[in-house]
């Protein structure tokens, strides 16, 4: 009996000499289903002393995240979005495989890494009820397309990078999908039977060596897609020339910065898009797309509860934002209505990590119309 127990104990000690804690055991079984989500419910009302505008109350978006880790290196990520209650989209759907400790390859429907909010758009992560308009009219959030990317970190995890090859915008499918007012927004293909002639290239580099400070550089180079190229006889010179007039070239660069220190929050972003061939495109399609689109904002926030004995946050903020989809034009007159400026003041009351009540007031102006004013109230969640 004693021998048996002794043998057992020796075996036990031998195998548990390298035994580990309970959390380490999870490393060996690091797979499974992950479910999360985020959303925002908004109230918007234009304030005018002479004209009454009804308020809108909208379940703006509810997004369900479903991810699955097949093993330590391979996972699938998806986000299913319901917008305005009735519209359903797939916002992300990609397979990710880690090929080295700091390098992964992703393939599928992915977010274009341009600017801050296209990547980080969960409502409690930004101030204000609505996303910034630079990230609506210049960067057409949520901008996602089909492709392959390689991403990773270097320099002791202080420099992150993402290099992505994706399909371009659907610029022409019998009619123009770009416009002077909304820029490139109408051309997003969103992974719904997307088509492509040649892929576009998107990159992003994030530098985070200084704690609390995140500096981002994003680029996007390529051409929009056109259905005029499908089934095109390349020997037919006039048909090829006609098709060539239905695409535009897109060279977009973005610079962004985020800084957090104690109660203080600061973020700023500048995006410029140089669009080529717009004169031919506008002539061919009857559109009024600008040849340069650009926008920027600067925002300062302060958590007034930082030093009080609560874990809640009450963030007050102010933001100045300009976005111009007719910064320059080619062959058409500049429409100054598209040179828009928003000044926003607001508060956000974070009652739990991932749950927030928001309120803000916006003063909106453009190059020709009188100022307008808007009140926004909303709830924001993320779990």
């Amino acid at each position: 009996m004693n021998k048996v127990i002794l043998m057992g104990l020796i075996f036990s000690i031998f195998t548990t000499a390298s035994a580990q804690n309970s959390a380490q055991k999870i490393i060996g079984s690091n797979k499974g289903l992950h479910i999360g989500g985020y959303g925002q419910v908004d109230y918007n009302r234009i304030i005018n002393s002479d004209i009454n505008y009804n308020a809108t109350l909208d379940v703006h978006r509810i997004v369900t995240f479903i991810g699955y880790n097949f093993n330590d290196k391979t996972s699938f990520v998806s986000e299913i979005e319901m917008e305005h209650v009735t519209e359903t989209y797939v916002e992300q759907a990609f397979l990710s495989h880690r090929i080295k400790n700091n390098v992964s390859v992703n393939a599928g429907l992915m977010l274009i890494p341009m600017g801050i909010q296209n990547l980080y758009h969960e409502p409690p992560t930004f101030n204000g009820v609505e996303r910034t308009n630079v990230d609506k009219y210049i960067v057409p959030t949520t901008w996602r397309e089909m492709g392959v990317s390689i991403n990773g970190r270097m320099l002791d995890n202080t420099l992150g990078y993402e290099i992505m090859v994706v399909n371009g915008f659907n610029g022409f499918d019998g009619e123009s999908n770009f416009s002077g007012k909304s820029g490139l927004r109408g051309g997003r293909q969103k992974g719904a039977k997307s088509y492509m002639t040649n892929p576009d290239l998107a990159t992003r580099f994030s530098y985070t060596a200084i704690p609390g400070w995140n500096l981002g550089l994003s680029t996007y180079f390529g051409e929009s897609e056109s259905k005029a190229y499908n089934d095109l006889d390349l020997s037919n010179v006039s048909a090829v020339a006609s098709a060539d007039s239905t695409i535009i070239g897109i060279n977009m660069i973005g610079l962004d910065s985020r800084y957090n220190k104690g109660a203080l929050q600061f973020r700023a972003q500048y995006i410029v898009g140089n669009l080529s061939n717009t004169a031919q495109y506008n002539t061919k399609t009857g559109s009024d797309v600008g040849s340069v689109i650009s926008g920027y904002y600067s925002e300062l926030g302060y958590n007034v509860l930082k030093n009080s004995k609560t874990e809640n946050e009450l963030i007050t903020f102010a933001r100045y934002e300009n976005y111009n989809t007719h910064k320059q034009t080619d062959g058409i007159e500049i429409n100054s209505v598209y040179d828009r400026t928003d000044v926003t003041f607001g508060i956000g009351f974070k009652v739990a990590q991932g749950a927030m009540f928001k309120a803000d007031y916006q003063i909106k102006s453009n190059g020709s119309d009188p100022r307008s004013y808007q009140l926004n109230l909303g709830t924001a969640i993320w779990f």
Binding site: V4, F11, T15, T16, N21, A23, G28, T125
Partner: protein, 172 residues
């Protein structure tokens, strides 16, 4: 007949004891960080540098998750290799404590996704060294946020706090 039954019971007891011991042995799978050369080297270098020792030994600390670091049979510190949640999956990190459970170092060993990797920045992680964890509120107030890494920041912050509280209770 009675003797035969007793013999069978005794044999079964031996067998049961052996099975229980073997099962207990298998209930611990092998240490992943010890198998991973890069992790092993990182942790070894950190312990060597922090305690200025090449002759330290490590051993499991009773039945909890911590590992005791010893020098000449005397406890000089503690090690915890553990995991916390990032946005979509788990990341691996370790904490080295002195013998009074004060944090000497925190480092991320493996971060598996592209979002939130900013917490791997060793300069940011330095704020946990010697952090006052007397109260959770004070502790939380001392940790700076990172834009774009909210989930991972909160996750590692909370994980470090509760593990440190656990160690302080254990060594009391």
């Amino acid at each position: 007949m009675r003797n035969t039954v007793i013999k069978i019971v005794k044999k079964l007891s031996k067998l049961t004891a052996l099975v229980v011991v073997i099962l207990l042995s298998f209930s611990f799978t092998s240490i992943q960080w010890e198998k991973n050369k890069k992790s092993r080297i990182k942790i070894h270098n950190s312990i060597s540098n922090l305690f200025i020792s090449e002759t330290y030994s490590i051993e499991k600390f009773n039945n909890n998750d911590f590992i005791v670091i010893k020098e000449n049979e005397k406890t000089i510190g503690y090690l915890l290799v553990t995991q916390a949640l990032s946005k979509n999956t788990l990341f691996d990190y370790y904490i080295i404590y002195d013998k009074h459970a004060e944090i000497l170092k925190v480092e991320v060993l493996t971060y598996r996704e592209n979002h939130g990797y900013e917490i791997c920045n060793n300069r940011w992680l330095k704020q946990f060294i010697g952090i006052n964890s007397a109260s959770e509120f004070q502790y939380n107030n001392q940790v700076n946020a990172i834009s774009g890494a909210t989930i991972s920041v909160n996750s590692i912050k909370s994980s470090i706090y509760y593990n440190t509280q656990d160690l302080k209770i254990i060594i009391k």
